[in-house]
């Protein structure tokens, strides 16, 4: 007889679409620990924060998302994005009733780490500096949860350093002139101090902003990439390769550009990929 599996929505947010392999691998990890988590995200499943300057529109977007999640009948929404998670608690659920609990993905994988452990068989020899922020950690102790999950990986050494970047993730810092560059310089300094060779990001926007630091001779990976590597799963970081390529267009390739649409690629994607490093 088949055993009933726990069901959830994996709410990956909006900007995670840059990192399809992270969405895919996270869903696979959740499945491996016994949670059938259907990925859901993008503009149609938005928390409303892109319209923070208009509460009426913000509310409409958020309400639509909650109603869709309620309609799934799944009792848990597993979040990825700290902004989405906080918005669910601060402004979405207080306005539109929810029929689900909201749990961060780090808490789920940490709570079920006994089922994760047998998957992580391949050593990942790396001295890892965890890119931790001050924010969100007060809601969900994500810095400790991710660190404990990473410690399951054989061969991986997590270095200790007190530096915590301000904000809840790097996209918040990018809106304040000078703040992101300062945080990246401090991160590189902490890595040098500890002899770390790998920067491990927790959130997507930190990864998006951080991949360019590979030009400083360090490796930049998301925690999901590290788990995938240890599990022996394919999770190639296409965004990092494109962002660090001398010719991003060639790195993406004409077939994929055709899939995205030539005009969309040139107007929406290429400028970001060609953005100069912050430091």
């Amino acid at each position: 007889m088949a055993v009933a599996r726990d069901q959830a929505v994996f709410w990956y947010g909006c900007n995670m679409t840059r990192h399809g392999e992270v969405i895919r691998t996270t869903a696979r990890l959740l499945d491996a620990v016994g949670l059938d988590a259907a990925p859901s995200g993008g503009p149609a499943n938005c928390c409303g924060s892109p319209k923070d300057a208009n509460a009426r529109i913000n509310e409409g977007m958020a309400k639509r998302t909650i109603e869709k999640f309620n309609a799934t009948g799944r009792g848990t929404v597993v979040t990825w994005c700290p902004s989405c998670h906080m918005n669910m608690q601060d402004s979405m659920a207080p306005v539109t009733p929810t029929h689900f609990e909201t749990v961060h993905v780090s808490a789920v994988l940490h709570a079920r780490r006994d089922r994760l452990r047998p998957l992580l068989l391949r050593p990942v020899p790396a001295r890892v500096f965890l890119h931790a922020h001050l924010g969100f950690n007060g809601r969900v102790p994500v810095n400790a949860l991710v660190a404990e999950v990473l410690r399951l990986i054989p061969g991986l050494t997590l270095v200790e350093h007190p530096y915590r970047a301000p904000g809840h993730m790097c996209s918040a810092l990018s809106g304040v002139p000078g703040a992101l560059a300062d945080a990246q310089r401090a991160t590189l300094a902490a890595m040098a101090e500890t002899g770390a060779d790998t920067l491990c990001t927790i959130f997507h926007s930190c990864h998006r902003e951080g991949v360019a630091l590979e030009r400083h001779g360090v490796r930049v990976m998301n925690w999901i990439h590290l788990l995938a590597e240890s599990a022996g799963w394919e999770a190639e970081d296409g965004y990092k390769a494109w962002r660090n390529a001398a010719d991003p267009r060639a790195a993406v390739g004409e077939a994929q550009i055709a899939a995205a649409g030539e005009v969309a690629f040139e107007r929406l994607v290429a400028p970001e990929l060609a953005k100069p490093p912050m430091v």
Binding site: C14, N15, T17, R18, H19, G20, E21, I23, A38, P39, S40, G41, G42, P43, A44, N45, P50, K51, D52, A53, N54, A55, R56, N58, E59, A62, S83, M86, D90, S91, P94, V95, H133, L134, G135, F136, N137, G138, P166, G167, H168, A172, L173, G175, V176, P177, G178, A179, G238, Y239, V252, Q256, A259, A260, G261, A264, F265, L268, V269, E272
Partner: protein, 135 residues
């Protein structure tokens, strides 16, 4: 309840409890990026933030501080009244951005190409089947 009512209600509730002692400002790691905050002093800046929650205009340094908030959250454990100071800043930021229909008083970072950009990247990194199911 609407979001506007939620923002107004929570603003009034928290502003009534806030003593503007400035502990939240002192704890904040972003004050160095907010013009005039260090010179004005924490209590004055906190009072300006509270004024925004009370439908007031705020002060230039308070608005600079509100605009520099990146949700570090260290203000909340610093509050001697036990208030969720980070949420107060969130409320103040909504209001200063003009979320309730007033003209914005701080810079609003809004990407009009946000949705099409998210979808363009999805077409690059997700299969057609994944896009159909996951977006």
């Amino acid at each position: 309840m609407t979001l506007i009512e939620h923002i107004r209600g929570e603003s009034a509730r928290l502003a009534a409890l806030c003593t503007a002692c400035g502990a939240c400002v002192e704890a904040c790691p972003m004050t160095r990026y907010a013009a005039g905050v260090e010179a004005a002093g924490p209590g004055v800046v906190a009072a300006g933030m509270r004024d925004v929650l009370r439908d007031g205009p705020g002060t230039p340094e308070a608005l600079a501080w509100i605009g520099a908030c990146t949700r570090s959250g260290v203000c909340t454990p610093a509050c001697p009244e036990g208030l969720d100071a980070a949420f107060m800043l969130r409320l103040a930021q909504w209001r200063a951005k003009g979320a309730l229909g007033e003209p914005p008083r701080i810079r609003v970072k809004e990407d009009t190409q946000y949705s099409p950009k998210v979808k363009a990247f999805a077409r690059l990194t997700l299969t057609e089947e994944e896009q159909a199911k996951w977006l």
